[in-house]
């Protein structure tokens, strides 16, 4: 494989898929960024759910832990 092979493939591809250089953005994306930041910010991390599940299981298996847990809240 040499540069000729690369150039030849470039010509073949450009005959099928033209460069996209002139395409411009049609709308302002700032509202989308703000929406995404709000959505991701409100999401509860997975390890919080794991912790909650662990606490729930502990209370079910050992109900006597409940007063101690409530005391520490």
């Amino acid at each position: 494989m040499n540069d000729n092979g690369v150039n030849e493939m470039s010509k073949r591809l450009r005959a099928v898929l033209e460069p996209m250089k002139d395409a411009g953005l049609k709308r302002d994306l700032w509202p989308d960024v703000l929406r995404k930041m709000d959505q991701r910010g409100a999401r509860v991390p997975w390890f919080d759910w794991v912790l909650m599940a662990g606490l729930g299981a502990a209370v079910l298996l050992f109900p006597r832990l409940l007063p101690a847990l409530l005391y520490h809240l």
């Binding site: 494989m1 092979g5 690369v6 030849e8 493939m9 470039s10 073949r12 591809l13 450009r14 005959a15 099928v16 898929l17 033209e18 460069p19 996209m20 250089k21 002139d22 395409a23 411009g24 953005l25 049609k26 709308r27 302002d28 994306l29 700032w30 989308d32 960024v33 995404k36 930041m37 991701r40």
Partner: protein
């Protein structure tokens, strides 16, 4: 305080100013990689969201544009990895209709399919270097690799493309 320092400290107003300065440029760059306006819009939003999330890692004296382009390129690369390999690359948006027969249309479709089947890290280099004719140095900076590595990926991509096209019965 300078704009980039304010951004680095997490100032949302500074981020908005930077966003407005760079959104069109990031969109154009990502569009060249994914070749779909809808996906390019989503990935532009994703790139800026990732940039804001990582604001504390940005050094205020650094090159914001280059840093952002690298984030956008990684987002586009993640998108290419998630795409189903059997789906063809979107056909050219601006291409003028060519006087092709059915056989030639079939060949075009096979070439698009072969390109879409390349592994994402080879495909991104092939699209940027072979179709968009971006300089190797710019591709290397965007991917965070050396120019030598870009050249290597390009040769591997072309070799794989030739093999795929030969297997499909497409001759030069």
């Amino acid at each position: 305080m300078e704009l980039l320092e304010r951004f680095s400290a997490g100032d949302l107003d500074a981020f908005e100013v930077l966003f407005r300065q760079h959104q069109a440029e990031v969109y154009r760059w990502v569009l060249r990689i994914v070749r779909s306006p809808a996906a390019a819009e989503d990935l532009t939003v994703e790139a800026f969201w990732r940039a804001y999330r990582a604001h504390a890692h940005f050094e205020a004296k650094g090159n914001w544009g280059a840093w952002l382009r690298r984030i956008a390129t990684n987002a586009a690369l993640d998108h290419l990895r998630r795409e189903r390999p059997e789906s063809e690359l979107p056909a050219n948006l601006a291409a003028a209709p060519l006087p092709d027969g059915a056989v030639q249309n079939e060949t075009r479709s096979q070439i698009r399919k072969a390109l879409a089947e390349l592994p994402a890290r080879l495909r991104i280099v092939a699209v940027l270097a072979l179709i968009e004719e971006e300089p190797h140095a710019r591709i290397a900076a965007a991917l965070g690799i050396s120019e030598g590595a870009v050249k290597l990926r390009l040769f591997r991509g072309v070799r794989l493309l030739r093999k795929k096209l030969e297997r499909m019965g497409v001759r030069p």
